[in-house]
Subunit: 204 residues, 2 copies
DNA sequence: CGAGACATTGAATTGCCTCAAGATTAGTGG
DNA sequence: CCACTAATCTTGAGGCAATTCAATGTCTCG
């Protein structure tokens, strides 16, 4: 498989693939963050998922994409053409299992986020978002309960579209979390979380 | 496989399986509607999916459920013990594919609903819900644009928990749709939709 | 017929949004 | 190095959609 794999780079803000376009292949995220989004006819848009390294992107047995994908930050992908992966599939049970496991994980994440969108307040949503990013960008945070820090891979607009809130509400909630010293922010994007447990406690 | 399958019946409101319990097997919905739900510690709950006949329920390679399931109406299930299906899997490529396809469909539905929860107004959500139920309970509605009618399988509370709204808001929006003669309601549960296209137009 | 669950309606409140004005940051060219 | 601009973000004021609280209405079933 690796013989046919190619590394592809996307600048922040560029489209990786469009809704209802043909599926060209399958990719692994090597670095950076990709947002998956769905848009309504009138322009409202919802970020329905985020992809971090080393997530897998693709869709077996389908020919068309059901959503669009955009690089949130600078992204490097390892891309395999559709035909290659599909020709390998019949021979490789483990590969098929890995794809199934990845899909189930995506489903879990989507449903988890449905709870956030349907039930949580603005402040709980923003806390849940910061926690989610922390878990993905600082995997060690799950065990060691110390300080973590990261650079936000999303703009305020992206965050708002992910959380189903307005930009202004996101900004106000971030300010409030900073006032409470649950987070610190430098240069809009640099987030420090001194106590991940305290943040977790505000996720609802 | 059919040798080991058993039909199981659940009364409306009873639990089919609980969150974080062991997976006992796999089932097909024969009739009725099942709601999948996630609850927060403080009791808020979100319906994260609905299962109609002939949907499949189960989770490969996992030992525990990640959510709970409850019969919304009287439900009949065709249940296969875990060990049976998993022993059949290595022999049956088509079965494995069917499970993968079902999981991908669930993922699509979840993401579609994220858009509803994140972006739509109360009136659009209620319209989207009535449309969704119509499509599932009256499959012919997709082609023929005539009148459709069905019995709502969910209580107002269930609907509210699915839509991320309060019961009262759901009720008010139903009343408004009735006033506009987009739907008719008899006995709280009997819904008639004279023109599914008009309803579709209010889904956002 | 009466009790209890479920649903509707109304009135008041509130959380988030919209609109509008500044502040901050990054990038550009003199 | 320092304006200058454009983009992004923050903050404030006011409005509105959805919630909460409370009361009334409707259906089901003993």
């Amino acid at each position: 498989m690796s013989r046919h794999a190619r590394t592809v780079v996307y600048q922040a803000g560029t489209e990786v693939f469009g809704d209802e376009t043909a599926i060209t292949g399958y990719s692994n995220v090597v670095s950076g963050v990709i947002k998956l989004l769905k848009v309504l006819e009138d322009g409202r848009q919802q970020v329905v998922g985020l992809k971090f390294a080393p997530d897998f992107m693709g869709r077996l047995f389908a020919t068309d994409n059901r959503l669009s994908a955009e690089a949130a930050s600078l992204v490097r992908l390892c891309h395999v053409p559709r035909a290659v992966l599909e020709s390998l599939l019949p021979q490789s049970r483990p590969l098929e299992r890995r794809l199934m496991a990845e899909t189930l994980r995506e489903l879990d994440e989507a449903r988890e986020w449905m709870v956030t969108l349907g039930q949580k307040s603005a402040s709980e949503r923003v806390a849940s978002f910061l926690y989610l990013i922390g878990v993905h960008l600082c995997p060690q945070s799950s065990q060691a309960p110390g300080t973590i820090a990261y650079e936000l891979p999303l703009t305020r607009r992206d965050i708002a579209d992910f959380l189903g809130l307005s930009i202004e509400t996101v900004s106000r909630q971030l300010t409030e979390l900073r006032r409470l010293e649950i987070i610190a922010i430098r240069n809009k994007r640099q987030i420090t979380i001194p106590d991940i447990g305290r943040l977790r406690g505000r996720c609802g």
